[in-house]
């Protein structure tokens, strides 16, 4: 207990230096926490996938459409329970910085396949009836203060023109990781306009979503679907929803790798900051360590005192950093476009990594000063002029 008191008193010996070190660690922990949160947010879309859902897309690239006529053929594949489809609309709502997913979907089947979008029955019924209606996620409704009956006007880019939709439903997410930032409207409404304005693009579907009866049959069913359209002008690539999302994530792998790399650079910086403080502190106390050794304190005691101080400073910096990371991440979540990171929150793994890192840094930063203190014998210690 007395040794703990000595450690705390030693820590406060140079208050300014200790405070600056603690703030340095805290800032680095915040930066680490934010970067890791971005990385985990990137991967969070994979969490929202279901093992019994398959995605059928154009084999060449996701950006090429598939014919609507594939629907019936896919429905007939053994093991398929339900098939729905969607089209990426893009477009602009208010201005280009307002990013969220806008999809033309099959109103009759989409909410059966995505049962994690919780929509009241009456709202779903109205949505199905009105061709220019839309359903939005609760986060979008909150952000833009939208209510049932409000009109959302989109300026199309992939599908040019001005598009008006009446909000007829607001869905809530079933799970924490369910995306509540989508705008869903009738694919048929989109297709009608295409038939009139750009007949060549009518009947195009972005991708099919296939709900299967048995998740363990996903590989077999995927193969059967792809074989149906082999050697056709629009060959398909069918994969699980999880594999499909991973493909998206892989396309951003350079950014994620960079972020991971930067987060480890930050760890290195914290280590240097703390190691510098501990080296200075231990150097200044060379004579005191000699006194303690003279009084009978062993090398282990001295190592414990140095290690304790290093861990104490790193823990204070870590705690302060983590406490500040929560409100900062919450503030970022408010500012960044909802559709970019539907789930932007600190994951337990980020906390575990941050705590583990801070403790590791506390230990590593103490190694060199401990080595020096252990190596310096009493006589040299008393002769030392700091």
């Amino acid at each position: 207990m007395k040794i703990l008191k000595l450690i705390i008193k030693n820590t406060l010996r140079h208050k300014l230096r200790t405070l600056l070190t603690i703030f340095g660690i805290a800032i680095a922990v915040i930066a680490f926490g934010l970067l890791r949160t971005v990385v985990t947010a990137w991967y969070s879309s994979e969490k929202a996938t279901a093992p019994n859902r398959l995605i059928v897309r154009q084999a060449v690239s996701f950006i090429f459409p598939l014919p609507y006529s594939y629907l019936e053929k896919i429905q007939r594949v053994p093991g398929v329970k339900e098939v729905t489809f969607a089209n990426w609309f893009g477009g602009t709502y208010i201005d280009k910085s307002q990013f969220f997913a806008r999809l033309g979907v099959d109103a009759d089947t989409y909410f059966d396949v995505y049962n994690e979008y919780l929509l009241p029955k009456d709202e779903l019924a109205t949505f199905k009836k009105e061709r220019n209606s839309c359903v939005i996620g609760v986060d979008i409704a909150k952000k833009y203060n939208l209510k049932i009956g409000d009109v959302m006007t989109l300026e199309g880019d992939i599908y040019p023109g001005s598009w008006e939709f009446v909000v007829r439903g607001i869905y809530k997410p079933k799970y924490e990781y369910t995306d509540a930032t989508q705008m869903l409207f009738h694919w048929s409404y989109l297709d009608e306009r295409m038939k009139q304005d750009m007949p060549g693009r009518a009947g195009d579907v972005g991708w099919y979503i296939v709900l299967i009866k048995d998740a363990s049959q996903s590989a077999v069913i995927s193969k059967e679907i792809d074989e149906l359209f082999a050697n056709s002008p629009a060959e398909t690539k069918t994969e699980t929803e999880s594999a499909f999302q991973q493909g998206f994530i892989q396309s951003s792998s350079a950014i994620i790798t960079s972020m991971n790399f930067i987060s480890f650079i930050i760890i290195g910086i914290i280590m240097l900051v703390l190691a510098n403080t501990m080296i200075m502190a231990a150097r200044e106390r060379t004579r005191e360590y000699a006194v303690l050794k003279t009084l009978g304190f062993s090398g282990k005691h001295i190592a414990g005192i140095i290690m304790g101080e290093s861990l104490f400073i790193s823990a204070l910096g870590g705690i302060l950093g983590l406490l500040l990371t929560y409100p900062l991440v919450a503030a970022f979540a408010e500012v960044i476009p909802k559709g970019m990171f539907p789930i932007f929150q600190i994951e337990p793994i980020t906390i575990i990594l941050a705590v583990g890192t801070v403790l590791l840094i506390g230990v590593v930063a103490a190694i060199f000063p401990i080595q020096r203190a252990m190596r310096t014998n009493i006589v040299e210690g008393f002769r030392f002029v700091g």
């Binding site: 005191e288 006194v291 009084l295 009978g296 062993s298």
Partner: protein, 227 residues
């Protein structure tokens, strides 16, 4: 009186880069229990080195040092640390108190290595501080004390474990005359009243005059003894 310290044919040399510097040459001496011995000599004569060897904070290059029936030249680092904590009390020229600890906490430090309870430690610390006349300065930090008072705290720290031997390296070297006299009187009292064997290194003839025996070193050799 029995011999409490026996230094037998001790040599000590230090290596600086590739040069060997011989500090002590074939030193032999004995100190009896309860004696007050002063080591005198010019700078570089080896008196502090001899004191370090007797107190077990350094090891001889050759020879034996038997203190209180233990050949300390044969002990390993950790055994030596344990031995020092129970046999030797140290008093340094520059007091060497821990600045962030109060007088009480500084004196308590050596007791943290014992199995004494908090209450027992408190009794020992208060007794030691009362002996040195600082019972009313327990909660003061070193910077709040005068040089003489700091040295008295250091003496309290040296005697708190009730060691059989006190070693003092220039205990009055950094003090004014009045404070130095107070410290010397205190050491004399510790020798006479509390029967501590004292080995003191000093330049000061006045300090040395308190000792029963004065041994003179020069260039690593014991050259004479005066009583």
């Amino acid at each position: 009186m029995a011999d409490i310290i026996q230094v037998k044919n001790v040599y000590k040399s230090y290596w600086r880069d590739s040069f060997e510097t011989s500090v002590l040459h074939n030193i032999s001496l004995t100190i009896k229990e309860g004696e007050f011995l002063a080591l005198m000599g010019p700078s570089g004569s080896g008196k502090t080195t001899l004191l370090n060897l007797i107190s077990g904070i350094d090891k001889p290059t050759k020879g034996d040092i038997i203190v209180n029936e233990t050949d300390i030249s044969k002990l390993g680092e950790s055994s030596l640390a344990k031995w020092r904590s129970s046999n030797i009390g140290f008093v340094f020229q520059f007091y060497n108190l821990i600045p962030v600890l109060t007088a009480y906490e500084n004196v308590e430090l050596p007791l943290l290595l014992t199995k004494l309870t908090k209450t027992e430690r408190k009794q020992h610390v208060e007794t030691a501080l009362n002996i040195v006349g600082l019972g009313d300065r327990m909660e003061h930090y070193p910077k709040q004390l005068s040089g003489g008072q700091e040295q008295r705290v250091a003496i309290a720290r040296a005697i708190v474990t009730d060691p059989i031997i006190l070693v003092a390296d220039e205990p009055t070297g950094d003090l004014d005359k009045n404070s130095a006299d107070e410290i010397l009187t205190l050491m004399d009292r510790l020798n006479k009243e509390f029967k501590k064997t004292i080995v003191m290194v000093t330049h000061d003839p006045n300090a040395a005059s308190k000792a029963h025996i004065i041994k003179h070193l020069e260039k690593g050799d014991l050259i004479r003894e005066s009583v």
